[in-house]
Subunit: 342 residues, 2 copies
């Protein structure tokens, strides 16, 4: 299959029954280029046949029988367990032996390996599930050590710096950036869940040199863990995630910081939902925020402008203006919740 | 029962097994006074006996057999339905006949009445479940029309302006401010739910003139709908709710406003939770924000300061500072989530 049909795995792809009568444009794959997120229902195979998530893409002959997972935190262990359920054999390595033990004890992996080199031996795909800095740091070694022909995919929450590293590797053709849009505020293999990615988007970002075989393999991996593959570029990914994931994290933290002792007793499900993200791992998030600093800063400054408008309107008791802002926010949020797979 | 024991209905009251060896202080009941939220587990009867939610307070002889509910939106209809389940007979009035029809059709009320006067006839308690401005506007008429000896309680989300009106009524002794801390983003009697208040706090705010009988009756009403009565003062209520309810609403709205078309497709449960509140009714929230403008403004300005600190740290790529702020937010949020009944 080619890159074009590999893009047809967006949410509800083809399922809303609309056909635009033309095939989708090829994605702009430069890490500084732009590609829009495929609109729901607008993408079809070149022959007009709609493609359904989980179909394996029809022409895709890649089969991932053996995976090497580096990093067995929440995401790595969940991917491993979900892939095992789909029939793959998973060998794994983690710098922290206790994480590897928990992942093994919970049946998320078949085999704990003693080193990165051992873990990538004779696999069809290497999944890099470490913090972003560690992913970038290990990419050259993984490219040197991994079996010829094996896919190399990461699961970092920011894609531009990872793609930049992938582009420069001798084995760039077999690398694909990845990001399963799922998680929870509690980390580690003890929180791993083989259903974590069920029906969630799994963003795939090909490098400028990624082969169509590698992209097809990455798509198979995403489907193997129950997710919906969605191809876009790193620039757009990081811009959108700054608004949909990184900004919500900051708002949740700031709300937590504003609370006073005892406040929780006079609270309901609204506060509960709004402070859930604040429980996430500060170290993981520090890295994400720094790796995506420009986009996060842009999103946060825009959000601050809206909050300042609200503060000014409230201080002036400007009822009509307050209602107008609330209505705009309601409409904007509703439109995106309609599109959300959550 | 006296006012003191009526305060013993906070969440987990007496259930954590700690006894301070002294009775709780009497609440400061002036609308400009201050009373702290009773700490969990710290309140007991004067005789040292722990009081459990739902016990009816032991000495409480009030029995609410017949209720008049004014306003059959989400909260009014849910209270009516929950009270019916507990054996009360509920008559109701709403300016919008269609809301009254839906509430009747859904079995939330026994009898739709044609006017405010009809609805408050011969009841043991009048529940004012309209927008705040309407509650304040109608209080003098309700006090004139309601059966002698009947409790008058409101369910508005801001308490200072309501209490101010109640204090000035000839029948102030029978008035109690109320606020069940529960709701959902969809309004109206079609969303009503007799379990909406189950184990949630129902804040009760006595006026400076409220009788102990009236407060006991209000507590009975709260228990009747499955909630946990919690007595505090209007000043503290409005200050805390600004942080736990009104501020989260503004953050959710601002997040919604920051989203771009298509963003929802690359989102997970984090964005979903964080934009839920933005779906709430803008008119209802305009009134709440204006009624509590000073406290909301204070909470929002404090939150903005935290967000600005985060923005600055991210722009400087100050990793340690970012991690420190995230950790502080995590700890603060965790402490209040521990206290939260949600």
């Amino acid at each position: 299959m080619d890159v074009r049909s590999a893009r047809c795995q967006g949410r509800n792809c083809g399922r809303r029954g609309r056909s635009h009568g033309r095939s989708a444009p090829a994605p702009e794959r430069s890490p500084v280029g732009r590609a829009s997120i495929p609109p729901a229902g607008s993408l079809r195979h070149a022959d007009g046949r709609a493609e359904h998530p989980g179909s394996g893409g029809g022409t895709n002959s890649v089969t991932l029988r053996r995976l090497g997972v580096i990093g067995t935190g929440l995401i790595g262990a969940s991917i491993a367990g979900a892939a095992r359920r789909s029939g793959a054999r998973v060998q794994a390595f983690d710098l922290a032996p206790e994480r590897l033990e928990i992942a093994t004890a919970r049946g998320m992996i078949d085999e704990a390996r003693a080193s990165l080199e051992d873990a990538v031996e004779a696999v069809d795909a290497v999944v890099l599930a470490m913090p972003i800095a560690a992913i970038i740091h290990s990419l050259p070694a993984v490219d040197t050590l991994a079996a010829p022909g094996s896919l190399i995919v990461d699961v970092g929450s920011v894609k531009r710096p990872v793609l930049e590293s992938m582009e420069g590797l001798p084995g760039a053709r077999r690398t694909v950036g990845g990001h399963p849009i799922a998680g929870r505020e509690t980390g580690g293999p003890a929180s791993a869940d083989i259903d974590l990615f069920r029906d969630k988007p799994f963003v795939l970002v090909p490098t400028s040199r990624t082969s169509s075989t590698a992209l097809a393999a990455a798509r198979e991996l995403a489907e193997m863990v129950g997710a919906r593959p969605l191809v876009t570029d790193a620039e757009l990914h990081d811009e959108v995630l700054a608004r949909t994931s990184h900004l919500p994290q900051l708002l949740s933290t700031a709300l937590g910081l504003t609370l006073e002792p005892g406040d929780g007793r006079l609270s309901g499900s609204g506060l509960h939902d709004m402070t859930r993200l604040a429980s996430s791992d500060p170290e993981v998030w520090r890295d994400i925020l720094i790796a995506n600093d420009d986009r996060v800063s842009e999103a946060l400054r825009r959000c601050l402008a809206h909050l300042n408008r609200l503060a000014d309107a409230i201080e002036r008791r400007a009822g009509e203006e307050i209602a107008r802002i609330l209505t705009e926010g309601k409409d904007r949020a509703a439109a995106e919740r309609m599109e959300s797979p959550a």
